[in-house]
Amino acid sequence: MAAKGEELAEKIREISVAEFFEKNRHLLGYENPTRSLLTVVKEAVENSTDAAEEAGILPEIKVEIQQLAEGRFKVMVEDNGPGIPSSKVPVAFAKFLVGSKFHRLRQSRGIQGIGIHGAVLYSQLTTGKPAKVLSSLGGNDPIHEFELMIDVTKNEPIVLSHRTLPNPKGWHGVRVELEVEGRYVDKITQSVPEYLRQTAIVNPFATLHFKGPNGASFTYRRRVEELPRQPKEIKPHPHGVELGLLRRMLSNTSAKTLLGFLTTEFCRVGRTSALEICSLASLNPGQHPQKLSGEEVLRLHKAMQSAKLMGPPTDCLSPLGEQMLLEGLKREFRAEKYVAVTRPPAVYRGNPFQIECGIAYGGELKEPVQILRFANRVPLLYHQGDCAFTQAIREVDWRRYGIPQDDFPKAPMVILLHFVSVWVPFTSEGKQALACYPEIMREAKLALQDAGRELSQYISRKERLREKQLRMGLFERYMPELAESLSKLTGRPKEEIMAQLERRLDEEKG
């Protein structure tokens, strides 16, 4: 038996994360040709928008799709961002779990260091072609052109070629070209054009150009010449820190005292709060953080949860804002009423987040209700049924706001929901549905209810106005009939009765 165990143990080996995702590419959104093509575009566009925005540049993104053969496309995405230094290009595109965004608590589009890498991997898997990446920092930096592949077994980049091209105009930015298998559609809700349309709604400061394989092309020009406030990085908030993470932070900290640890590693913890936490936990504030026993860590964790603290700072979040939301809706939908709500920030699992909701109602809109979901300005097109937002729309009692409901609300309207956070809890790597955390559900429902209330005021005002108009002239219209009938019954002339009724009506008015 011992021999058997040894023998089997021989097979234990380490796996490359690239290899893992190669086998499980459906996890990244590459499950069928239509969706795969969309995912490639999406990952590149989000990388580009994030890069420009972070560098304080108003994004201008060009997307082009060429059809090379049946089921084979070339996707090109170019931005006007700051570019990537040539030394970093290979890892930024061809080594999984490398990225600039994972370790920071900061709102951005792509996050997990596997988005664009997945696109590169999908390309080489389906067409065997390397990714072509052009990058320049601008100014005197030439344009660097790379041909890259991923060494899947080692999760390392392979640089097939690297040449420099002249850059007379000082172009800066990144251009990615990928050859992929896929299927192009433009009519359905989960298409590339629809993705860009929705992206334009919540990124009014970006200009998007598109050229499609069927000759179609369009541009969404920016409506706003100002970037939204730059979101800031923040430290974790004590209320959301899990025990395991706390333990890890304690052992990694360079602080020498518990007091120092609490005030430097967390947001919203000043000296007073830190002392309160220590007192709640019956711990000495001067104790060395790495010397806490297991029992003491537990007490500390509990005390941190129950201490009264301010909510996390909001400058780490950059919501669109109600005005921007209204403008986005107005440009895309001809409705008769628009409402927008930006909720104050809240916290889930230590992460501050914020929910925005916009509704366009009536006018040229038709039933059934249309749902637009966004996370950090990125449209979510798939898995609507699994999403916390969809669930929230179902759970709100719309009848209260004068809107019939049958599972979903039944009205000619568009509901837009936007999740803004330093960390978006997707239910899968395909990044298409938000997980149903209670805090998220609660805030989403509050946002919908706020918007619903405003909408219901409009609906009932409209109703009242119509009533008054109806009332006007109603009596006048019936008066000749009454006069005629009374004349028949009494033999008195109709005109005489009319005159008296008119006198009476004036009194009614007065």
Binding site: L470, R471, G473, L474, F475, R477, Y478, P480, E481, L482, E484, S485, L486, K488, L489, T490, R492, I497, Q500, L501, R503, R504, L505, E507, E508
Partner: protein, 361 residues
């Protein structure tokens, strides 16, 4: 002639009253007894459903009232016109008579027949005159045969000399005059097929009676004709229905009146009517269980409602029938008696029940 005056007087008084209010600068109003369930009660003394004293006031200068107000006054004007020319209108015709577009608008005075019907019913309530007296006719349906001679519109009609068809009962029987009433009672049945059975077997001759039918719920004309024979000539009215909650209900309406027509019970209800239809005892006696038609949910609910009616609540004999029917969970049709013999109902069932005076009250 006197009756005509009574109606015209009432209509003119109504007009005058409204006119007076207008002249006084008041908001012209109508007072209409409320017809809802809450204002209907059973009067154990008269043994009829009657309207209570609740009244609603309806104003012309009120957005919610104006339409109904004008419709009701228009119905009164139309009624006066009909009286004056001596004509009658069906409810459908009256609807078209009242329907017209208000000048300068796309509003019709009435859009649906339901509206003119209600205006006419309100007029009945306000004037306390039946719609027949107001010259609006309800549906016509039903046949009669038997030992009665009437005069109507100048014709003398002998109900015993009309071949296989019988007299077709008009919707309005107010002006019929009974010339000769030899019959000793009236058998009323809910189905025309049953009536033809009894007529073919000349039951009215053999038992010296009148046989009358409508179809389903009796029309107002039939009910009024029954009532007049009962009140004016003292004929007992025997109601012959299936052993069925709906049959019982037909009997109940004939005898006590209905909620919808409670305001006019006096002119329609026949508290003296008796039930001669199939009973649970008949079902046993004539071995009709094999012809059970099983209850649907809706039958049971109807039965339970009827059993709770105030006028049946304390009636032991009826309660016994209800209970037995509930136990059987089934109904039986009169037609099932045919299984005992083609003329069984005429030659055995009816004579025997009449001889034994097996009525339910």
């Amino acid at each position: 002639m006197k009756r005509k005056d009574e109606v015209i007087e009432a209509l003119e008084a109504l007009g005058a009253k409204i006119l007076q209010e207008i002249e006084r600068g008041e908001n012209p109003s109508l007072e209409v007894p409320i017809r809802s369930l809450s204002n209907v009660r059973y009067n154990p003394e008269t043994r009829m459903l009657e309207l209570g004293s609740e009244r609603a006031k309806r104003y012309f200068f009120n957005v919610a009232h104006v339409r109904k107000f004008v419709q009701t006054v228009e119905a009164a004007a139309l009624s006066k016109e009909l009286k004056e020319v001596g004509k009658h209108l069906s409810l459908r015709e009256a609807f078209y008579r009242m329907k017209r577009t208000l000048p300068g608008s796309d509003i019709n005075l009435v859009d649906e027949q339901e509206e003119s019907n209600q205006a006419i019913e309100d007029l009945e309530l306000i004037t306390n005159l039946s719609r027949e007296k107001l010259h609006f006719n309800a549906n016509k349906m039903g046949s009669v045969a038997g030992k009665v001679v009437i005069e109507d519109k100048g014709d003398v009609v002998d109900w015993s000399k009309l071949g296989s068809g019988g007299w077709s009962i008009p919707s309005n029987v107010e002006e019929i005059v009974f010339k000769e009433v030899k019959a000793r009672f009236v058998l009323y049945m809910e189905k025309a097929a049953e009536w033809e059975r009894l007529h073919e077997d000349r039951v009215w001759e053999r038992l010296n009676c009148v046989i009358m039918c409508s179809q389903g719920q009796a029309t107002r004309g039939v009910r009024r004709l029954l009532q007049r024979l009962h009140l004016e000539h003292g004929l007992p009215i025997y109601v012959l229905t299936d052993f069925d909650p709906w049959g019982f209900y037909i009997y109940s309406v004939l005898k006590f009146g209905s909620i919808g027509l409670a305001h006019i019970s006096e002119q329609l209800a026949i508290p003296g009517a008796k039930f001669l239809g199939l009973t649970a005892d008949d079902v046993e006696r004539y071995d009709l269980k094999k012809h059970f038609i099983k209850f649907e949910e809706v039958d049971l609910r109807r039965l339970e409602q009827i059993a709770k009616y105030e006028w049946f609540k304390d009636n032991k004999e009826w309660q016994r029938q209800f209970k037995l029917m509930k136990q059987m969970g089934a109904k039986v049709e009169l037609a099932a008696l045919s299984s005992k013999g083609i003329t069984f109902i005429s030659e055995h069932y009816l004579p025997e029940k009449l001889r034994k005076q097996e009525f339910l009250d």
